[in-house]
Each structure stands twice: as structure tokens, then as C-alpha cells.
């Protein structure tokens, strides 16, 4: 018998560590000999903390939302007496959440102990590396990856095999493999889960990339906001070195490869390739003009393979199972799976991995269990600040690189934020523009100034001081920025605005033409109302109003508020002792 407690960042935040400690303590007290091990996140975030109990036949009992006080029952009845505690077991929909997925990248997450290389090796880990080193030539590896139709999972979808091949062809004797683990898109945490749950899978992919391209040094550029991922990667690298999968003369083949970890310092733009390499070089992380491309002159001016975590995590599967088997998953030219972080107003939040081409309907209503609180589905934001919104009409659209591009969205790194009927799309566009504007590195004018002005225009709408020309100005600026910004971040910055204007023009018009925020989100469109019945004219509200918007009021005569003057500070609401004032 053994016990596994899922301890990714979100599991720990839900109390998994306390639960694990409690179980360990109880096992000790009862004198049982059962190991309690740590595993990564299995992805059913809404049911954390999760405790897996494997009996001696290997049968799994999965307990969910296990708080320390529930540990008593589990240890007493199940671990000691062998009788599972039915009431704490995973509900059927939770099982379905996992069963309906196709897991390649996340296969071992929540199953193995990420801090123990033996467990990774036991499930076939580093076999692909051995095959690549001992049975394949670099050409064959590149060919196999090309044949598999694997495309970069970081967002752009560039064919990985072609990239590797280009680096392999470079004559330079020093080359680098760089892993982009700067998962900066708000609403995305797939890469974090891979690094926390199965770090060796990604390392193996990187080493194979080194074998294929002739590089002997790798860098992982990981966000400082992911401390747990960093610590598990460090452990994994140490262990891989001890076991001879990393370092000098790997598996006795004479091939050397080393991996360094660089911590990001909090700049979203560093997710862009040339900014990322500049940052590893210790510079300000600003993108540069391309060409030369990263494959020719990347890190330290050397040819560089730059892929993201998920891309590298797919490599071992392709080498082990072959490109044909890999291609059988997904849609033509969009092979394999994609991991998505499903969040927002949806019942089952978590990490999912599905074949490319799975529809939005399947993801939100089947896996996600529909919109929270029985509300109506309005839109889903995909691809973070570079992506766009998909609406009801896109529910049956296959999610893959090419289909999304056609409707003006992109997979991006894979964040899916579900929004219900109460979400104001103008405010969402404002949110993203605020984000990109703050994260603009300032190197090129279209992005630095353009996003700033777009943000001001959106602010005008949110603050109820815009008219229809504001929308036209937004569209014009968006077009300019898309065509003239230096890097991908700038070029795609207008996407959330464009896509919300395209899909929800009525909502924009309601704001600027009719003076209404249909969802009641934007404060400036709200009105303060004084209930004449309740108000006794005491004057308290009038005293606190900072803009003198309240007038009238004498003994038993109600106050009057001028909503044009009112700044909705709500001071009057707090001041009123009779609950006579309200905001609607």
C-alpha cells in the first residue's frame, strides 16, 4: 500500500501539505508502515487537495478535497483496516474529467514523484534519450520530429522539426538549446504543472534536442513566480547528472550536455524569443529586429533551438512511439495533444490535455461541466493577451492552430478563461490592454505609444466619456500597431480589442451610444438613487459628498442627487443610516 498526495502549487495552496503532514503523523501514531509520497498536480484543481491510496494490488482509490480532519477517517478505516471511505472518494464527474482526456505531456503528472528520478525511469523515462543516442542519427531524429507534425506549443505553432533541422545545418561549433518556461500569459499554468509534476520529461526533450542539433548546453528560462517549479527542476537536474543522463559522456556515448536554469525577473516581454535570449545574456529583455533569426543567431549570437516546455515534453513520446502513432492523434497538420488551463466562470477548473481539434463545446460543457452557477455561456478568452474571444457560434470549432487563426484568435500558450453572461467584454478588453501596455518594453513606438492611447480610449469607454468615433479610432490604431510593431507581443497586442469589437459590437455601442453597460460592470454607467420614501433629509450624505452632487433635503424632505456630477465614490451610501441610497 502507498499514499500519494498531489502537491503542485495550487494543491499546496489548497492545504495539501497540511493534509500530507497529518496523514504521515497519523500513520506514525498508529505504527503503520505505509509510505506517503509527493506527486505533482493531476489537474483536477477544483477537487484539491487530492490523496491517492494504492492498495497492494495496485488498485487506486482517489480521495478529493481532503482536509486534515478527514485524514483521521482515511487512515483509521482505509489504511489500517482496509475499508475505503466511500464518502470522500472522487465523484463520478471528477473521474470523467480525467477519463475524457488524452494525456501525453501530463501523463505522469500526479502519478509519479517528481523529486525521484527512479519513478520517472520506472515509467519508461530516458528510454527515448537512449534510443536517440544509440540508435538514431541527428538527421533521423530531426526527420522523425518533422514527420510527426509537432508544432511549437508556445503559441506560434512553428513546425518543431523544421526548426531543429535549421539549427542542425548551422556550421557554428557552439549551439544552444533554450527552453522557454516564462509562462507569462495570465490564465495559463500548463507549463508550471509539467515542471512541478514531471520535470524529467521536459529535460529529456531538451537533451534529445541537443543530440539532434549538435548543441551541448541548454538553458531553462523560468519565471521567478514559480518557486516550486524551480526547486523541482534543480532537483531533477542534479539527479539526472548523478544517473548519467546529463553531464559528460551521457550513457557512455561520449555525448556531453549540460542544463542551466535562469530565473526570469518579471518581464512579460521575455516570453518573446529574442527578448528571452537577451535576458539570459543579462541584458534588458528587449526584442530585436529579425532576421537574423534565433536559429541562426540566438543566445550569445549562436544558433539556438528555442522551444517551450510543452513542446519539449512531447519529444520523448514521438521518439518512443514513432511519428505515425503520434500523428494519429489530433487533426491533419495539427498533430498531437494540447494542454489547456481551464479557468474562469466554469464548474470544473483545472488542467486538461485533449487532442488537437477538440471542440470548445466538448471542453467547456463536457470536461468543464458547464458554466458556474447555471449562468449562460458568453465567451471564452483564449491565448491570453495575444489571443481573442470565442463565442457561442464557435462552440463547434475544432481548436487547433489553423482553425483558430481563421477566426482571428490563437491558441497562444493555452489559457482558456470562461466568461459568463455577467462579464463585460469592454472591461475585458480594457483589462488586457492595461496588461500589454504595462508590459510593453518601450523599444518601438507603435507598441509603446499605441497601446497607451488604445488603453486611454478604452478607459474613455469604461468611464462613460466616449462616443462612436472612439471605436473607429481604436480600430484604426489597432491596424497600425498590428502592421508596424517590432515583435510578436506588440503585433498581437490589439487582438483582444479587435476580437471583442468584432464579436460584441453591440455591447460597445450600448456603452458609447446608449450610455448603458449591459452587464452592469462598468461603475461609471451606474446611477446613484435616493429612495424618497426612506430619506428623511438628515443631510449626512450631502456633507460627505466630495463633489457637491447632492442637494435639497430639509426636515422630512428627501435629498436629490445629480448623477452627472456624481463620481460614484459611494461615500453617501456608507454615510446614510437609513439605507435610503443605492447604486444601480
Amino acid at each position: 500500500m502507498k499514499v500519494l498526495v498531489g502537491q503542485g502549487s495550487c494543491g499546496i495552496a489548497s492545504g495539501a501539505k497540511k493534509t500530507a503532514d497529518k496523514i504521515t503523523q497519523l500513520i506514525g501514531e498508529k505504527g503503520l508502515d505505509i509510505p506517503v509520497k509527493t506527486t505533482g498536480c493531476i489537474g483536477i484543481c477544483y477537487l484539491e487537495p487530492i490523496v491517492d491510496v494504492y492498495d497492494d494490488d495496485g488498485k487506486l482509490y482517489r480521495y478529493v478535497q481532503v482536509q486534515p480532519e478527514m485524514a483521521d477517517d482515511i487512515v483509521e478505516f482505509h489504511l489500517k483496516d482496509g475499508i475505503p471511505v466511500e464518502k470522500y472518494l472522487i465523484p463520478e464527474e471528477g473521474e470523467r474529467f480525467l477519463a475524457d482526456q488524452t494525456r501525453i505531456v501530463l501523463k505522469n503528472c500526479g502519478v509519479i514523484d517528481p523529486e525521484d528520478i527512479e519513478e520517472y525511469v520506472a515509467v519508461g523515462g530516458y528510454k527515448a534519450l537512449e534510443k536517440a543516442l544509440k540508435e538514431m542519427t541527428p538527421d533521423e531524429i530531426c526527420q522523425e520530429i518533422s514527420d510527426s507534425d509537432l508544432r511549437g506549443r508556445g503559441g506560434g505553432g512553428f513546425p518543431t522539426g523544421r526548426k531543429w533541422n535549421q539549427v542542425k545545418e548551422q556550421k557554428d561549433h557552439i549551439k544552444y538549446v533554450v527552453c522557454n518556461a516564462d509562462e507569462g500569459d495570465p490564465g495559463a499554468f500548463m507549463d508550471r504543472s509539467v515542471m512541478e509534476g514531471d520535470p524529467h520529461k521536459m529535460l529529456e526533450g531538451m537533451i534529445i534536442a541537443g543530440v539532434a542539433t549538435g548543441a551541448h548546453e541548454g538553458y531553462i528560462y523560468v519565471r521567478a513566480e514559480y518557486p516550486l517549479a524551480v526547486s523541482r527542476l534543480r532537483i531533477a537536474i542534479e539527479q539526472a547528472k548523478e544517473k548519467g543522463y546529463l553531464g559528460e559522456n551521457i550513457m557512455g556515448t561520449g555525448f556531453d550536455f549540460d542544463i542551466n536554469i535562469n530565473l526570469g525577473a518579471g518581464a512579460f516581454v521575455c516570453g518573446e524569443g529574442s527578448a528571452l535570449t537577451a535576458s539570459i545574456e543579462g541584458q534588458r529583455g528587449m526584442p530585436r529586429v529579425k532576421p537574423p533569426r534565433t536559429v541562426e543567431k540566438g543566445l550569445f549570437e549562436r544558433p539556438t533551438v528555442l522551444n517551450n516546455v510543452e513542446t519539449f515534453a512531447n519529444v520523448s513520446e514521438i521518439i518512443n512511439e514513432g511519428s505515425e502513432a503520434y500523428k494519429a492523434i489530433g487533426t491533419p497538420k495539427n498533430a498531437g495533444t494540447k494542454a489547456f488551463a481551464l479557468t474562469g466562470n466554469v464548474n470544473n477548473t483545472g488542467l486538461i490535455e485533449v487532442p488537437m481539434g477538440t471542440t470548445l463545446r466538448e471542453i467547456i460543457f463536457n470536461l468543464g461541466g458547464g458554466v458556474k452557477g447555471g449562468k449562460e455561456f458568453k465567451a471564452v478568452q483564449i491565448g491570453g493577451p495575444s489571443g481573442g474571444c470565442l463565442t457561442k457560434e464557435h462552440l463547434d470549432l475544432p481548436l487547433d492552430f489553423d482553425s483558430l487563426k481563421k477566426v482571428g484568435a490563437m491558441i497562444g500558450s493555452g489559457g482558456l478563461v470562461v466568461m459568463d453572461e455577467d462579464t463585460c467584454m469592454v472591461s475585458i478588453a480594457h483589462f488586457f490592454m492595461n496588461f500589454t501596455q504595462q508590459e510593453s518594453c518601450g523599444k518601438c513606438v507603435p507598441c509603446r505609444e499605441g497601446t497607451h492611447i488604445m488603453l486611454e480610449l478604452l478607459e474613455d469607454i469604461v468611464k462613460n466619456r466616449a462616443d462612436e468615433t472612439t471605436i473607429d479610432n481604436l480600430l484604426e490604431l489597432a491596424d497600425t500597431i498590428q502592421n508596424t510593431a517590432l515583435c510578436g507581443l506588440g503585433k498581437t497586442a490589439p487582438n483582444p480589442v479587435l476580437s471583442t469589437i468584432n464579436q460584441f459590437k453591440d455591447e460597445y455601442l450600448a456603452h458609447v451610444r446608449d450610455g448603458v453597460c449591459p452587464t452592469g460592470t462598468c461603475q461609471a454607467y451606474k446611477k446613484i438613487i435616493i429612495d424618497e420614501e426612506k430619506c428623511v433629509g438628515c443631510g449626512l450624505c450631502k456633507q460627505v459628498c466630495p463633489v457637491n452632487a447632492i442637494s435639497g433635503g430639509s426636515y422630512k424632505k428627501a435629498h436629490v442627487i445629480d448623477n452627472d456630477k456624481c463620481i460614484k465614490c459611494k461615500a453617501c451610501i456608507s454615510a446614510c443610516k437609513l439605507d435610503a441610497i443605492d447604486i444601480v
Binding site: A13, Y46, P186, G187, E225, E281, G282, T343, F431
Partner: protein, 178 residues
């Protein structure tokens, strides 16, 4: 370096208070590493909690990077601070999932309770509030991470009420220790 500035000794009083022993170890360790500047600054910030002028000057002297270059890098990245921070660094997630789940209301509660806004530190030097892009715990939105010298703790599914309760429990703990 011109003749006037050569061998110039800093006369400010605060220089004496800086102990560079730990920093010098870091500088020795990374001296020959390609692209070492960000790593050195990160380590320096770990030691001092922020990047004081004297530290930047010292790094410049030891590594040969100009102070301008170091300030250029230090001010580019959100992580680096030129001012000291409070004992508890509140990193409030303002990512998409947190945004749609009410992070603004949580921020409002923190701002009202601590009377500081984003980037500021309370007068008692106990708390600093930093809004961050995304902590990657989206399924627990709204989320914040509270970082101290001992490590970091993540709190999820925040409400204006729960966040104030967390702040108060930290205050209580500090009072007890004091």
C-alpha cells in the same frame, strides 16, 4: 574614468553600514559566467531585500559593468526593487482568471486595510503590496502569494473578508513575537 573621480572614496554615512561579505561570495561565484548580471542582481536582492545604491556601486566596481548599465537592467525588470520592502511581501495576482473572479475587490480591501497602494510599503514596514501578472494558480482565483525571508505561502479563493482575516492573523503573529 577621469582623474578627478579616480580613487574617489564615498563619503556618505550609509556606506559603512553595508556588509559586502555575502555579496562578494556571490560575485566570486558568478564572475566568469556569461551573462551573469541578472543572476548577480537577483542574488544581491536576496541578501539585502532590495538593491541599495551602495550595492549597485559595489557590483559595478567588482564586475566592470557601468552603473548606468546596472540601473538599466534593474529598472527594466519588475522583480528588482531600489527601495526596501516590508517583512511580508503581498503579491496579489491580477491575471485574467483572478480578474474575472473579483481580484479588484480583493485589492480594494487590502488597499483600504493597509492604506497603501500597489508598490507601496506600510509605515511599520510590515507589508508591501505588489500586483503581479499571474501566479499560475488560476483555478484558485483570486490568489495572492505572501513572501517572507522564510518562504512563501499561497492563499486562494480570496474574498475581501478573507484577505483581511489573513492580514490580521499575520499582524497577530507579529505582535506575539514582539
Amino acid at each position: 574614468m577621469s582623474a578627478e573621480t579616480q580613487n574617489h572614496e564615498c563619503l556618505c554615512e550609509s556606506c559603512d553600514t553595508f556588509d559586502f561579505t555575502q555579496l562578494d561570495k556571490v560575485l566570486d561565484e558568478y564572475r566568469d559566467l556569461q551573462g551573469n548580471l541578472i543572476i548577480i542582481l537577483q542574488e544581491a536582492q536576496e541578501i539585502y531585500g532590495y538593491l541599495p545604491r551602495e550595492v549597485i556601486k559595489h557590483i559595478s566596481e567588482e564586475t566592470g559593468y557601468t552603473e548606468a548599465k546596472i540601473y538599466g537592467v534593474a529598472t527594466f525588470y519588475a522583480q528588482f526593487r531600489l527601495q526596501p520592502i516590508g517583512k511580508y511581501l503581498i503579491m496579489l495576482c491580477k491575471g485574467t482568471a483572478c480578474h474575472v473572479s473579483g481580484a479588484d475587490r480583493v485589492e480594494e480591501a487590502i488597499v483600504n486595510e493597509l492604506e497603501i497602494s500597489d508598490g507601496e510599503t506600510t509605515e511599520d514596514r510590515l507589508f508591501t503590496l505588489n500586483n503581479v501578472a499571474c501566479l499560475g494558480c488560476c483555478s484558485l482565483a483570486p490568489v495572492m502569494m505572501v513572501k517572507t525571508d522564510e518562504g512563501e505561502e499561497t492563499y486562494g479563493k480570496l474574498t475581501p473578508e478573507s484577505v483581511i482575516a489573513i492580514i490580521n492573523s499575520i499582524r497577530k503573529k507579529e505582535d506575539l513575537e514582539a
